[in-house]
Symmetry: C2
C-alpha cells in the first residue's frame, strides 16, 4: 500500500505495511497513560524548560546571536539538542492540546534560535564565529550534525501541526546549508553521533525535498569505514566498524545505534531498498534476542554507554539509559509500520511500561538516567536542586548531561502517535488504553472506536465501535506473553493466538468487542547463555516487569539478600496496600538461605569453613531464621525507588539454583 | 624490632614485624620463576626499551631539554613514568646481574632526564616552558607528581644498588623542588593519581631526608576532601571521597587506590602511627574479602578502571589490569613486613601466579592489559607491531597507554626481593622457588638455605641448610589453601597448619627440611553474594587458578558453552600434552546441557517454547549430544590465549545450578 497520511505523527512513511494513526486521532480519557500524559503536560515540560534555562543552555543561543550574557558558554557540545527536543515536545503538545501560553513560549525560543543562525544558514552555538571552534572541525565529537537532526525533528513536529514559523524556517535553512556543505562534491564524513540522518529523512517526508533524502543516504553510506578517532571500545562506538548494510547486530553506543537505525529504516522504506531493510531487521532481531534486558532496556556497559557482546547482560551494571529506550521505540515503530509484524508493537509495549514509565517520579520533577536491574546497595540519592555529573544515581531533577528528560517529554507529548495503525480496510489497536480513536482507514473511510480498560492491571479491554458503519476489520494485538487470550464478539468467545486477531464484519455503532488478555503473574527464566542471571528468576505480570525492593521486603523476618525464590510455589497477586503508585503487587514465596559467614576470602572449597582474619570487619547482613519459609512482595519495576533508597532485584536467586 | 636492612630491596622499612631479605640475597637457579626472570632479563626489558623509543616517549625528554626532534610531543601525560619504571627495572637488574651494556643505557637515558630538568629542579616533559601547560595547572589529571613518584622509585633502586648518578641527582632535585612548592605555606592539593607519596617515602628511607616524609604526610592528609573535579564514578575515582584514615575499604581507580595505600602504609610505619596502619589493614582486608577476583585481580569496572561495590565481581567485564596486581603486591608486601601475617604472603602468591605470570607471552614480546575471567567470545587479536588504543584485547606488543608492561618488568627485576624475610633469629621463606638464600638474620648472623622444588606443579619443597650453624628458626609459610601440609625434619613428620611452621633448632650444614604442600586440584565455590558467579565453580591447584579454553575443550563431542560441571566427580590431574607452557592440566567431568533453542526473546516462562521470528538468524552454537557425560581439560589461567584466540572460562557452570 502507498499512502501519505497527514497528521500529527512523528513518523509518516510514504509506503509500508501499515500506516500510523495520528497522535491527534487518539485521545486518552483515563488510565495508566493518561496519568503520564497529564504529568507531562502539567509538570514535566515546564520542569525541563526551567532547568534548561537554569543550566544556561538557552543563553548559548543568545551568545551565538551576539545578544548573550557576557559569560562563558554554559552548555555542552550537545545541549542545543536538548533545546530542540523540548521544542519538539512543545510542538506535539500544542498541535493536540492548544495552549496560547505554550505557543508564546515556542515563539520566544524559536526567535532565539533564528537570531543565532548565521547568514548562510549554519546554526550551532558551539561552533562558528561566536562558538569555540570553527564549524565542522570536530565531526567525531562535536555533535554539530546531531544537533541539526534534532532541530529537524522539532521542525517536523511543528509542520505536522500545521505551522510554519521561525523554527521551521531555521531548520530548512540549516538543512539546505548541510546539503550544500556535505552534498555531491562537498565535505565527506558524518557526525560521530547519528541523528541527522533520521532528522533529514523526516524533513524530506514533511517537505518533499528529495535533496534531504539524498543527503541522508550519503551520511548512511559513509558510515562503517573506520574513519573516526579511536575509542576505548573500538570503532563500533560510532557504529563506524561495519557499513550499515553489512552489520548483523547493533553494537557500540546504544543511542547512536538506534538513531542511525531509525534513519536507515526511513531511508530503506523511502528508497524501496529491500536489502537494506532486511539488514536492519536482522540487526534489530539479533539485538532484541541477545542484547536486551527484560525491561527492554539496552546498554550493558557504562564505558561507551554501549551494548555488550551477545548475552552480556549484567543486571547491576546495566546502563540502559532512558534515551536508548526512547530511540528503540522509534526504531520498533518504524519497523512495525514497514512490516506490520506484531512483535515490534510488543517491544514498544515492553519499553513503554518498563523503561519510559520508570523515568519520571510521580511528582514530575525527577528522572532516572541509568536503569539497573539490580541494586545490591541502596542507590545514590541526589539532593534537591542538584544536577549530578554522574548518571548512575537515583532520580534527579536534572543531570549535567541531561539528554534523557527531554527525550522522555518528546515521547510523552507524541505518545498516542504510537498506539494505532491503519491499512486499507483495517484499524489495528497496537497498544491498550482507555480513550477513543477517530481516524480514517487507508481507503478513506472514517472509523472510530472507544476503548475502556484497566490495563495493565487487568486484561479485559472493551472496544466499542463508534459510528463507522460498513465492513471493515478491527485488529487487536495479542502480546507474545498473552497465550490463552480470548475475544468475545456478539456473545461468541474465540481463542486469540499471540500476534493479531482480526475481526472483519459489518460493524454497527455500539458493537462491542471484549478482549481478555491473561494478565497474571508469570515466572520468567533467562536464557542460559546470560551468565550474569544464572540461577535466578523474575516475575512479569502482563507487560509489567516486577522487582523486589528492600524497603518493602526487608522486615525482621525477611532479608532480601538471603531470600531464595521457590519456583514451585504459586505467585500470589494482591491489590497494593499503603503508599505505592502501583495498583497490583505480587507476593512470591521462598526460603531464607544461611547468611554467608564472615570470610577473609570469598572463594572456598565446598564444605570448608571461613578463615577469619582479625581486624577485617567483614560481616554478613542481618538475616531471618535460615531455612525458614518466607514471602516477599514485588512491585512494578517502574515504581522502584519511589519509596526511598532501597536495594532492588528484578532477578531473584532461586532456591536450589 | 627495628632494623635498617641495607640491600637491593624495593621496600626497606626502619621498623616492622619482619624485615625484607634483599632481592640480591635470593638467587633463582631453576624453575617457574627463574624462567620468567630470564625472560625478563633477555627479552622483556629490551622490548620495553624499544617500544618506548618507537612511541617517541624518550623524545619528549629531548624536547623538554631543547634538543628534541622538531615534532609535536608524542607521549601522553603519564609516559614520563613509563621511562622511569623501565629505569627502575634496569637499576634492579644491574644491581643483581652486572651488565655494562645495560649500565651504559641507564647512563644514556639518565642523561636525557637530567638535561630535561629545569634549573630549579622541576621536571616533567609535559609541563613547564617546553611543555604544553604551565606546571601545576592540572593537578587532577596532569600526572606531574605521579611521574615524579616513579622517578623517585627509580632513583631508590639505583641508590640501593650503590650508585649515585644523573638519575638519583635528578630525583633528589625534583623531590626538593616539590617539597618547596607543596611544603608548609606552599601550594595545597595533591596529584589526582597517587604515587608521589610512596616515592617520597622510599626516597626518605634511602636518603634519610625527613622533609620527604613530611611532604608525603601532607599529601596523604590532604586527600579525601572532594577537591578534584567531578568524575563519572564520583570523587572515589581519585580516592578523594573520604580521608585515608577514615575509609574502610578501597574504592575508585584500582591503581590509584593501591599506590596511595602503599605510601600510606610506609607513612604509618615510619611515623609509628598505629591508628593509620589499622585503618589501612581494614581497607585491605575488606577489599580482599569483597572486591577481589579469585586470580587476585582487582577492578570490576572498565569505567574509571575501578573497583565495584562489594561483591560486584563480573568475570567477563573484569578489568583487573596488570598494574593493579603489581600495586597490590606492593601493598601486601608492606603489610607483611609491618605485621608478619602470612595471609599477605598468600595474597602475593596468588597475584604472582595468576596475574603477573599471565601478563607476558612465552616469547616475551606481548603483554595483557585487561585480565577477564570469562571470554564468551574469542578475544580481540592485535596485529604484530600495533599498539592498540583499547585495552580489552588479547596480548599486544604494546598499548597506546602502556603502563602495565613497564610495571611488570620492574616487578620481575626485583622479584626475589619479595620471597623471604628475616627477624631477630628467624629466616622465613615466604614464597617457594628453586635457588638459594644467603642473608643475615636481624641479629646479624649469616644464614643460608638451598631450596629445591618443582612448585607450583608439585608440593614437595626441600630446604637444605647451607652453613649457618647455631640455633635459629627456619620458618616456612603454609598457604591458606594447604590444609594437610606436613613438614619432615630428621625423619620426623609433623602436621603444619596454614600460617607459618617454625622450626627452631641448632642447625648444621646440610640439614634438610622436607615440606609437603598438598598440591591437588580443588573445587572452589564463590561467596553467594557474588551474583555474577551464581551456579558456577572453579578449579584451583596449589596456587594456580585453572580455566577452560574452547581451543582445548571444544571438540566434536564437547561444546564449552553447554558443558555443566559435575561437582561430585573427581578432578583428574594429568601431565600436559602437546603445546602448552604448563606442566599439569586438570580434567573435569560434567554433562552437556541442551543447547538453547533459537529464540526471538531471551526470557521465557519455564516450560514454554521459543517464539521464532523470521529473519532473526538467532542460533545456538554447535553442541554435542545433550545430556551426555563429557570431560574437558583445564589449563592454568596464566597460560590462556597462548594457543590462539579462544573462549575462556575460569568459572564453569555446574550441573543443577
Amino acid at each position: 500500500m502507498s499512502h501519505p497520511a497527514p497528521g500529527v505523527s512523528p513518523v509518516i512513511p510514504s509506503v509500508g505495511a501499515v500506516a500510523p494513526v495520528a497522535a491527534s486521532a487518539v485521545r486518552l480519557t483515563a488510565g495508566f497513560w493518561r496519568t503520564r500524559q497529564d504529568l507531562n503536560t502539567t509538570a514535566l515540560l515546564d520542569h525541563c524548560d526551567t532547568w534548561i534555562d537554569r543550566m544556561g543552555w538557552y543563553d548559548t543561543f543568545k551568545t551565538a546571536a551576539g545578544i548573550g550574557p557576557d559569560k562563558p558558554l554554559q552548555g555542552k557540545l550537545f545541549t542545543d539538542a536538548d533545546v530542540y527536543k523540548l521544542l519538539e515536545a512543545f510542538a506535539w503538545e500544542v498541535a493536540q492540546r492548544p495552549d496560547s501560553v505554550r505557543e508564546a513560549r515556542i515563539a520566544e525560543i524559536a526567535g532565539l534560535i533564528a537570531a543565532a543562525q548565521e547568514d548562510d544558514g549554519y546554526l550551532n552555538t558551539f561552533f562558528g564565529p561566536r562558538g569555540r571552534e570553527a564549524r565542522y572541525t570536530d565531526l567525531a565529537h562535536g555533535h554539530e550534525l546531531y544537533c541539526a537532526g534534532h532541530l529537524f525533528q522539532a521542525a517536523v513536529a511543528r509542520l505536522r501541526g500545521g505551522t510554519e514559523d521561525d523554527l521551521t524556517r531555521a531548520a530548512i535553512r540549516l538543512a539546505d546549508r548541510i546539503c550544500e556543505d556535505f552534498g555531491e562534491g562537498g565535505l565527506t564524513g558524518s557526525d560521530g553521533h547519528p541523528e541527522v540522518e533520521v532528522g533529514l529523512m523526516e524533513l524530506y517526508r514533511a517537505t518533499g525535498q528529495t535533496r534531504y533524502l539524498d543527503q541522508a543516504r550519503r551520511f548512511v553510506d559513509q558510515r562503517g569505514h573506520q574513519t573516526f578517532e579511536h575509542h576505548a571500545i573500538g570503532h563500533e562506538y560510532y557504529l563506524d566498524d561495519v557499513p550499515v548494510r553489512e552489520a548483523t547486530v547493533l553494537r557500540g553506543h546504544v543511542v547512536r545505534a538506534m538513531y542511525l537505525t531509525a534513519g536507515a529504516v526511513d531511508l530503506a522504506v523511502e528508497s524501496g531498498d529491500a536489502e537494506l531493510l532486511a539488514a536492519l531487521v536482522t540487526q534489530w532481531e539479533n539485538t532484541w534476542a541477545r542484547r536486551t534486558y527484560i525491561t527492554g532496556g539496552m546498554g550493558s556497559r557504562h564505558l561507551g554507554e554501549s551494548f555488550g557482546r551477545d548475552f552480556e547482560l549484567p543486571p547491576d551494571r546495566a546502563y540502559t539509559e532512558t534515551c536508548g529506550a526512547v530511540a528503540a521505540i522509534q526504531v520498533a515503530w518504524r519497523l512495525l509500520l514497514a512490516t506490520g509484524q506484531s512483535h515490534y508493537a510488543d517491544a514498544i509495549e515492553r519499553l513503554l511500561y518498563n523503561m519510559i514509565a520508570t523515568s519520571p517520579n510521580a511528582e514530575g520533577d525527577r528522572f532516572f538516567y541509568v536503569n539497573p536491574l539490580l541494586a545490591r546497595e541502596p542507590g545514590i540519592e541526589v539532593a534537591e536542586g542538584e544536577a549530578p555529573f554522574r548518571k548512575d544515581t537515583l532520580r534527579a531533577n536534572w543531570f549535567w548531561v541531561s539528554c534523557c528528560p527531554t527525550n522522555v517529554v518528546r515521547l510523552l507529548s507524541s505518545l498516542t502517535g504510537y498506539f494505532a495503525t491503519v491499512d486499507d480496510a483495517a484499524l489495528t489497536v497496537q497498544q491498550y488504553f482507555t480513550g477513543e480513536v477517530r481516524t480514517r482507514l487507508a481507503d478513506g473511510r472514517e472509523v472510530g472506536i472507544d476503548v475502556t480498560t484497566d490495563y495493565p492491571w487487568d486484561g479485559q479491554v472493551a472496544v466499542r465501535v463508534a459510528g463507522s458503519p460498513g465492513t471493515w476489520t478491527l485488529r487487536l494485538r495479542i502480546p507474545a506473553w498473552a497465550a490463552g487470550a480470548t475475544v468475545e464478539v456478539d456473545g461468541q468467545t474465540t481463542q486469540a493466538e499471540p500476534g493479531y486477531v482480526s475481526l472483519t464484519r459489518a460493524w454497527a455503532d455500539g458493537d462491542v468487542v471484549l478482549l481478555n488478555l491473561p494478565v497474571v503473574a508469570r515466572l520468567q527464566r533467562p536464557d542460559s547463555r546470560i551468565d550474569a542471571l544464572r540461577g535466578t528468576a523474575a516475575v512479569q505480570r502482563g507487560p509489567l516487569v516486577y522487582c523486589a525492593e528492600s524497603v518493602v521486603a526487608d522486615t525482621g523476618a525477611v532479608d532480601l539478600d538471603t531470600f531464595r525464590l521457590d519456583t514451585t510455589a504459586p505467585l500470589v497477586e494482591a491489590a497494593a496496600q499503603g503508599p505505592s503508585d502501583a495498583a497490583e503487587v505480587v507476593r512470591v514465596r521462598g526460603v531464607l538461605a544461611d547468611p554467608e559467614p564472615t570470610r577473609a576470602w570469598p572463594y572456598a572449597e565446598p564444605g570448608t569453613g571461613a578463615v577469619p582474619v582479625p581486624g577485617a570487619g567483614v560481616g554478613a547482613g542481618a538475616a531471618g531464621a535460615a531455612g525458614a519459609a518466607a514471602e516477599i512482595e514485588l512491585v512494578p519495576y517502574y515504581a522502584w525507588s519511589n519509596r526511598g533508597p532501597s536495594t532492588m532485584r528484578v532477578w531473584i536467586p532461586v532456591d536450589g539454583g
